[in-house]
């Protein structure tokens, strides 16, 4: 176990002295994840709301597809996006492969079904008396939609936080579309994978600790959202 305790000691050293490679991996992770979450939320929240709120033909089929995509393997997403953005692919001319924007595309696809399905679920779980109450107080259709969104605001925040948690810890998309390039597209998870395979545990452990800290903050936020949703 000597190598583990040595690794822990060196990891603490890397974090305290803000080692360049370690900080770069943390930055790449947070930047790509934040962009992916922003795009997925922009697309997914309205889609999920419509899916949970409105009745239209094909709604159940769309819901089934969205729910199925929750289990989309990250390497498969990586593969599909790779085919599109590789030099010979239809989007090859944009030079997205092995770049952060390329990773963002894949991570957005990963986050989107989570946001769509869970937003739809949050809308469906809302007490039906809410809509009746709004209508009986004189709300018009647009006001009813806006106030319904306000009623589930903590659930929506929780959905985004959970999607962030899923994306920040994924490795398949980042590895296949980012290429694990040092000081560029190397994220915390791909760095851990690489350093471990090299037998260099220090940076892996340091990044693992940061990931654990992020997971802790994410769960803290989820708990807060749940609590606020219940007590508001």
């Amino acid at each position: 176990m000597g190598y583990f305790s040595d690794g822990m000691r060196q990891a603490a050293d890397l974090l305290v002295h803000m080692d360049d490679a370690t900080m770069s991996a943390i930055e790449a992770t947070l930047v790509s994840t934040s962009w992916a979450l922003a795009v997925a939320a922009l697309l997914g929240l309205p889609l999920g709301f419509v899916l949970g709120y409105a009745n239209f033909p094909g709604k159940r089929a769309i819901r089934l597809v969205s729910d199925t995509l929750l289990a989309f393997p990250t390497v498969l997403i990586g593969l599909l996006v790779y085919v599109f953005i590789t030099a010979r692919g239809p989007l090859g001319e944009f030079g997205l492969l092995f770049t952060l924007p390329g990773m963002v595309i894949g991570q957005t696809i990963l986050a989107l079904p989570i946001i769509v399905s869970w937003t739809a679920q949050a809308v469906e779980n809302l007490d039906p008396r809410c809509r009746q109450t709004l209508l009986t107080l004189g709300a018009g259709p647009a006001q009813t939609v806006l106030l319904t969104l306000r009623e589930i605001r903590y659930d929506l925040a929780m959905v985004c936080v959970q999607a962030f948690g899923r994306v920040v810890t994924e490795v398949g998309v980042a590895m296949m579309l980012g290429g694990n390039i040092r000081y560029s597209t190397r994220t915390m998870t791909t760095a851990i994978s690489l350093e471990t395979s090299k037998g260099e545990f220090a940076q892996g452990i340091a990044l693992g600790l940061v990931l654990l800290l992020i997971a802790f903050v994410v769960n803290l936020l989820v708990t807060w959202c749940k609590h606020r949703g219940k007590t508001a």
Binding site: C130, Q132, T133, L135, L137, G138, Y154, T231, A232
Partner: protein
């Protein structure tokens, strides 16, 4: 008195099951009508139709509206009301704000809350629904409807889940509404209530 609601052969079904059939029904302006009948006789369905929340499958319902938005003249208080996840003040003034009416909100909040039997409305203003008792929640929901100065107040067994003291306050408040000319239609199983409100009884019967 002139009729406010007039209905003929009103029918409503859910999933093929007939929930309401009412050959004739009318409510006069300023009148109090008590809907009675067994569970499943269609009392709540009729109230939702009168509140314009649902449309009947067949038959005609005429509401002689005063303004251009009939739905805003009628309001419904449910048996177990829903309060939004915001303060009591925001809940009570929500209907006014939805109408774009933001004048003297505090004053109108206090007046509606006082009508619903709250001695010190401002003490509750910033509380959320989770901090209220069942009786308080029902009276806050009532205050939210009273703040709108409705022309018609519909009550769906509004005191079924509250204690005797809250029930007394709620019906005293409804009686004040009647004195001001508000039309009231309430669903209830309690004969003492419609005696107290001097209501005309309409018995609904399930159609087999």
């Amino acid at each position: 008195m002139s009729a406010l609601f007039e209905a003929h052969d009103l029918a409503k079904s859910y999933g093929g099951v007939l929930a309401l059939f009412l050959p004739e029904f009318s409510v006069d302006q300023g009148e109090c009508v008590a809907l009675t009948g067994r569970n499943g006789s269609g009392k709540s369905t009729l109230l939702r139709i009168l509140a314009f929340l649902e449309k009947p499958d067949s038959g005609t319902l005429v509401y002689h509206a005063k303004g251009s938005e009939p739905r805003r003249e009628v309001t419904l208080l449910l048996q177990d009301p829903y309060l939004l996840k915001c303060s009591v003040f925001d809940n009570v003034t929500l209907g006014l704000r939805l109408r774009g009416d933001r004048t003297h909100l505090e004053e109108r909040y206090c007046q509606a809350m006082a009508e619903a039997g709250f001695a010190n409305p401002m003490a509750l203003a910033s509380r959320t629904q989770s901090m209220l008792s069942g009786g308080e929640r029902q009276r806050v929901a009532l205050a939210a409807r009273l703040a709108l100065s409705p022309r018609v107040l519909l009550l769906d067994e509004a005191t079924a889940h509250v204690d005797a003291a809250s029930e007394k306050i709620i019906y005293a408040s409804v009686k004040s509404c009647l004195a001001r000319g508000v039309t009231v239609v309430c669903a209830t199983h309690d004969r003492a209530i419609f005696d107290f409100l001097d209501a005309r009884e309409v018995v609904l019967r399930p159609r087999d």
